[in-house]
Point group: C2
Chain length 172, copies 2
Amino acid sequence: MPAVSGCINMLDSETKAVETPEDHAEELRLWLRLLTCTTLIEGEVRGRLRQRFDVTLPRFDLMAQLDKAPDGMTLSDVSKRMMVSNGNVTGLVERLVESGHLDRRTSETDRRVQVIRLTKLGRAEFRRMAAEHETWIADLFADLTPKDVRELMRLLAKTKASAQKSAARRRP
Amino acid sequence: MPAVSGCINMLDSETKAVETPEDHAEELRLWLRLLTCTTLIEGEVRGRLRQRFDVTLPRFDLMAQLDKAPDGMTLSDVSKRMMVSNGNVTGLVERLVESGHLDRRTSETDRRVQVIRLTKLGRAEFRRMAAEHETWIADLFADLTPKDVRELMRLLAKTKASAQKSAARRRP
DNA sequence: CCGAATTGTTTTAAGCATAAAATGATTCCA
DNA sequence: TGGAATCATTTTATGCTTAAAACAATTCGG
């Protein structure tokens, strides 16, 4: 590297930050680490759900959404909440209705809309799974102090906001 | 709630922390937030890869692993690194060999082993994609200060270690 | 040596996931 | 009022993903 450009960079770095054309290696590493953590935990939860309850993670997630909505949700709501495609929800719901965990009916007021709810069976099974699930999560995060947890919550909130802003820039 | 048990809990909370039989709501919220962040960013990256380069995220991830290993990797290595199942890699590799991005050969010394490498085409295309990919990530994390990034890195490292420990407890 | 584990990969069956196009219902507004 | 736009969902085509079983090659221990 020519000495001159090195100097320019050094001067820049005093005023603002390192400003080499592209120095985003740190963010990239952060993203990979975030992804690793999530994949690790998700895999662990998936395996335990399968072993203990013979249920898949997507099914569990869907039931978790419905457990929070006693009056039911539309498929679109579910799709937005779970951040998955519409078509995905259609199939997932189909299987859970089939197995008796979900009740599905067409809205009275808008015949485009399908409203789904947990059945009695579905709610009972979900509650049973959720109780144990919570202990798994607690165990997976066991080495974090309460302060760590608070700090992570704060930083991830900031991360989420940043990512949403960036996404919105591309699709306004 | 009876007043007595309320008092007991309050006393406990002074010495150590709230110790109701199960109070893991914070960890649960943290997990959901972590998952949300990852899903959000992953979806954004997936969409941009598809739009700009007509490539899927798993293909990109596999090529990223191989770019770091000029001498190639075995399928098992790839599978461990990517934290996906063996069978998954088999199919992924098949399609990338088919499209001319990967070269695959049986190891000279162990005929069970398949060694895969990026082809010239594969490497060139990956480099092109990776450069742009890095700017997307930088943009997605743009609102985090360098200090935020460092702090997140540290806390996620701790999280990863905690989760690995917990996973190891179940499968020693 | 040789059979029993182990290791690396593939196959199988089922389910999950996406994007894009299609379908059907509602709303908007000229 | 009637057509266009929008909205909710489903369908289609393709690809990803997993767990478990099957297969094949190697290593290990007696």
